[in-house]
């Protein structure tokens, strides 16, 4: 990873990757969403509301994946002092918060026709809500650190400590009674029929590529802002 510690080397890779991620992500999400809406079969029990699966699962996956990324980048910042780690963590925070909010909103909309209620204070829903508040706190801490190019050490520690919520979200449907169904996709396989699974995978990959493109764009923006700030300081000193 230290090969990309140099921002110039990183930008040489990030510029073409941004476009590829964006185009591939848009194509896959357009196809996966259109298929999920128009052609995928309805579920025997959930009826047409099962179509929400194709956008709800990717958003929650990215909500959890985003914080995992923040935690890994924070460890890299503190342990190895990787210069781009803090930039990456800061770039993940806003899209991570947006996808967490989208996961909560689509989950709530899905709950109404299937559970008969918009909201339940069970382990899964509450732990994802806690994740959303953790994102907001992280963004506030990162902005308060005053360091435009990255985040403070305290913010990085918060990113690592907050990761304790990720396994709690994952295991919440096992540990506590819940209206939420148990995990359908695990490391040992999937209990979802292939007619539902493959369009879901298309959208998971598509949204992940879009998330990657957003993070790269935000990293490039932060690096350019840092460059401008450094140059202005140098010009003022001359």
């Amino acid at each position: 990873m230290h090969a990309f510690a140099n921002p110039t080397r990183f930008l040489a890779l990030a510029k073409p990757l941004t476009l590829w991620f964006l185009v591939a992500g848009l194509v896959l999400v357009a196809f996966g969403s259109a298929y999920g809406l128009l052609y995928a079969p309805e579920d025997r029990l959930m009826g047409d509301s099962v179509r929400i699966l194709y956008i709800h699962v990717p958003t929650v996956w990215l909500a959890m994946g985003g914080w995992t990324g923040i935690a890994i980048a924070s460890v890299m910042q503190i342990v190895w002092r990787h210069p781009l780690a803090a930039v990456a963590a800061r770039a993940v925070a806003v899209p991570g918060a947006v996808f967490t909010a989208l996961g909560l909103i689509t989950g709530s909309i899905w709950a109404r026709p299937t559970w008969g209620t918009w909201w339940v204070w069970d382990g899964r829903v509450t732990s994802v809500l806690v994740l959303f508040f953790l994102y907001l706190a992280y963004i506030a801490l990162a902005n308060a650190s005053g360091d435009k190019g990255g985040v403070s050490r305290v913010t990085a520690i918060f990113g690592i400590v907050g990761a304790i919520n990720i396994p709690i979200i994952n295991r919440s449907v096992v540990w506590w009674n819940s209206l939420h169904q148990p995990a359908s996709i695990t490391v040992s396989g999937s209990s979802i029929d292939s007619a539902f699974l493959w369009p879901l995978m298309v959208n998971v990959i598509g949204f992940s590529l879009l998330f990657g493109a957003i993070v790269l764009m935000r990293m490039r923006g932060i690096l350019a802002e840092t460059k401008v700030e450094a140059r202005l300081k140098r010009m003022a000193a001359e």
Binding site: L22, V29, S33, L37, G47, D48, S49, R51, I52, I55, H56, T59, V94, P95, V98, A101, L102, I105, T106, I109, W110, R112, P113, F207, L210, A213, I214, M217, R218, R220, G221, I222, A224, E225, K227, V228, R231, L232
Partner: protein
């Protein structure tokens, strides 16, 4: 209960919000990079 209003609302919210984050991130990146380029040329 007709499920389609719930399905369509979910898709609309996710697709519009995702597009908004992409456009906002792209605009912020282009603005910052063009500012950095202009300052670089000034020297």
């Amino acid at each position: 209960m007709n499920h389609w209003p719930f399905v369509l609302a979910s898709y609309a919210i996710v697709l519009i919000a995702t597009a908004a984050v992409i456009v906002a991130s792209l605009a912020a990146m282009r603005k910052a990079e063009s500012r950095a380029d202009q300052l670089g040329k000034r020297k």
